[in-house]
Amino acid sequence: MRDRSALTLLVAQVLVISLMLSLFGRLFYLQIADGPRYQEAALDNQSRDIVIPALRGLIVDIEGNALATNKAGLMVTADRLVLDKLEDKGESVLARVAEVLMLEYADIYTRTRLCGELARGERDGCWNGNRYQPIPITKEASENQVFTILEGSDLFAGIDAKPVPIRFYPSSAGERATHVLGYLGPITEKNLNSEEGKPYYRNELIGKAGVELLYDEELRGVPGIKKVIVDRKEIVRRELINRAPAAGNHLILSLNAKLQAAVETELKDAIFRARANGHRGDSGAAIVMDVSTGEVLAMASYPDYDLNIWEDGITVKQAKDLYSQNTGVPALSRAIQGEFAPASTFKVISLSAAVEAGYSLKATYQCPGEVKIGDRVFRNYDSKATGRISMTTAIAISCDSIWYQIAYDEWVRDGGLKPKPSPNDFFFNSAKGYGLGKKTGVDLPSEQSGRLPDRQWKLDWYERNKDFYCNYTQKAKKSQLTPYLIEIARENCLDGDKVRAGDMVNFSIGQGDTLMTPLQLVVVYAALANGGKLMVPKIAKAIVEPSGRVVREFEPEISGRLPIEKSTLKFLQNSLRAVVTSGTATRAFSGVGVEVSGKTGTGQVFGRNLDGSSKGDTSWFASFAPSKKPKYAVVMMVSQGGFGASTSGVGVRNIYEHIFGTNGRVAIIPNGTPKVLPRIDSSKAPLS
């Protein structure tokens, strides 16, 4: 028995030794093998980054008037870490907050949700930061509201308030410039992880659109950062880094606030005029550009919206409406993102192509009411035949059939459906030289490039669509199975990869698959005015330090030259003047008080509206003035706006009256834009 006792004692001893060894092993694992990880965790544990956002630079117009500034706001925030621990997940607290702030509970609920927490369709207005930072509910609380919240702290667990600078778009001249300026929003995971390596910090606001986005790095300055060591009670024990924020630079735009306001008003009036005449008039754009520098003096897009909704705390409905078809997608800038068939404004390109192809500018040409090509009949817009006319008259009265015939003849000469190895392609090459299908390079994000439907485009298009058209009866919807559409599908399947006669004829009057943005068109008309230089449109004029030192001034930039002779240019300029003196725009411009040259356009649009009705015509007017010594190019486009002259033509006329101060209006810039940079008076801004 003594042996058993000794044995059990030994077993116990071995057991104890192994327990101690396992502790030793664990200690080794924690401190040596996994030590670095825990050292990092300890530092995370103890250090806190406190980001002090830099004051954002101002955005001013060419005269120094503030377009975007900062004002003092009171921000009310919710701490999800606290709210989520409450019995009802903070519902009653948020309901009380809604009552005090006089906001909708549903909006506050959405604003305090992480985007990932909400279903896909319900994310408008959600918080795209993280759970560990205070989430802003509003930045525009009144002092009384904040007192109510801070005094009843047990009723408002997790709710806090502090003063913050908020971005403010003052609209001092009545301008909105919604799409040019853009807005600010919370930083997203994508921004944080972007490879550009910009030093972003969480809970910073960054530019999300317009120049606020494009010049964000300049405007935002360098945020201050404080790294501190804290203890368990979050009491600061030591300071590691303390860098004060450096305010952002100011941005001077070429825009003229007063002109911008006037252009916005005229665009809106034009749209309402179209609606009064029975057109849908769903949207539009208008641009004023300095022809010699490419500086954009005004750029309007309708519908627009008040940018201040972003910082005021956007409601769910507001956020939804920005992207809704029913409200006309106000978030979309028609000036740079709207792509429409340029219609007759395109004829300057067709004329250039004809000259290149050897057609004489001195000769006269037939303008029949209709032209039959193959088995299809192409008509003049008003189906009128005028007999033989000069090319000037053809532009002035906007004859279509003259271009049909020339384009068709050239197409045949290039080999028709069996094109020569190296066709002349005068029309395509001319359009390319005018910048079609290429972005203008304006300093705004998300510009569209329009479309030049040349031979290559056709090939690409066919590659993408031949499966659909060649199996049309199986792939198309029932409603699309009409004999006419089936026939078109059959043709598309047969030779959809080729430029057909009809394509060429449509192209010659800026129709068919041709698309341009209003900005591309204004660049073309500015080039016609300035002697043939295609200018890169410029929104920003200069970047200026808070001290007033100019960091950078943006110089005019030429992206190309019109592919025409001086004589052709001269001819075009005269023809465009004739449009206004004795052509389609005569009535719209009678008595304008300044010599204007321009071109009307009424573009057919295929496709249907949401309610099933066919889309109405696009109303265009593209122009420059004064005709003899042009300073400004102006383009207006109204989608589903009816005739070019009556809707957009009149709108452009009114814009010129504002510019030059004719017919009793106050002249905004009769003698061109100022050549010196404005002084930025920061003291006018509430917070600088």
Binding site: M1, M20, F24, L27, Q31, A42, D231
Partner: protein
Amino acid sequence: MRIPLKSRKRKGFLAGVDQLLNSAVLILLLIGIVLVYAATRDWFAANGLDPEYYLKRQVVNVIIGITLACGTTLIDYRLLRAYTPFVWGLGVLGLVAVLIPGLGSTINGARSWISFPGGLQFQPAELAKISIIVGMALILSERMTGLNRPSNKQVLQALALAGLPMVLIVAQPDFGTVLIISAAVITMISLSGASLYWVTGLLVTGAVGVYVAVASGEVSEYQLDRLESFVDPLANPLASGYQLRQARITIGSGGLLGKGLFDGPQTNGRFVPEQQTDFIFTVAGEELGFLGSSFILLLYLILLMRAFAIARTTTDLFGKMVCIGVVAWFSFQIFENIGMTMGVMPMTGVPLPFLSYGGSAMFANMIAFGLLQNVYQRTRRNS
């Protein structure tokens, strides 16, 4: 392991005691004092309190502890047996007293303390550990004629003797202490030579007991929470799970050499609650690093190995059972406490012997240490 028998007989205070065991415990006590100071000085100073508050009190605890250890070492063997029923009775009385509202005070969800005037507190459960071990050793070392193992009746008596105080401790409820005592009880009966049926039966009962206690809600939510956070430390980041995570970070960030005494940012920021008591090992981990912490483990290993050696060498069955009880208690409590700080054992509120701040536990540990030396001394005298 054999006890080296000294050829020269020494007279005086330290004569006839196990010097290695003595040194290990004394060094542990010194380290404990320093760690308690390190755990509290910065925080107390930062909050405008006396930074030496805990240091002073721990020094007093150690001095009282050493006195108790000396007394226990020097006490007559026969007197020890005579005192046992008295000590046991006192322990039970104390455990009853803490349950009386007004006498017992609740700390961390358990009613474990008796408060005396002047801010002194006493935890009867610690005293109960001593009385249970000595009492059981007394009963299990008696031998009926013709039997070289304890009879079933003796085992039952021993269980009853341990059972009453344990039930009272469960009532507090102090789950951790009950676990430690259970480990000691089971080990003592297993090593007493009692029938294997007892051993198996006790192990099964222990396992079922833990299960029933958890299932029936006998274990309070506070304790369940602690057990749960062991399984998933992130389940409750600001309560027990937080504590366990911080403990691990604190130890892990110490690295090989540690951040230096008094220089641990985790310790000074007091990220681990109760770091001068149950979580004292995290202070060693962060400030003394792997080398320092390993040294502490080594001291404990020496202590336990000496206890085993004494148990093996002694010819006296009572002394042997006492040693076995003490070694089971110490090893399980050391493993549980350090294992908890490193996340390999669930969180139960037991202090680390000789290192943690606290009077009652210190006194009980030192009396147990005295008992080991007492047995050693008598073994030498008899040889």
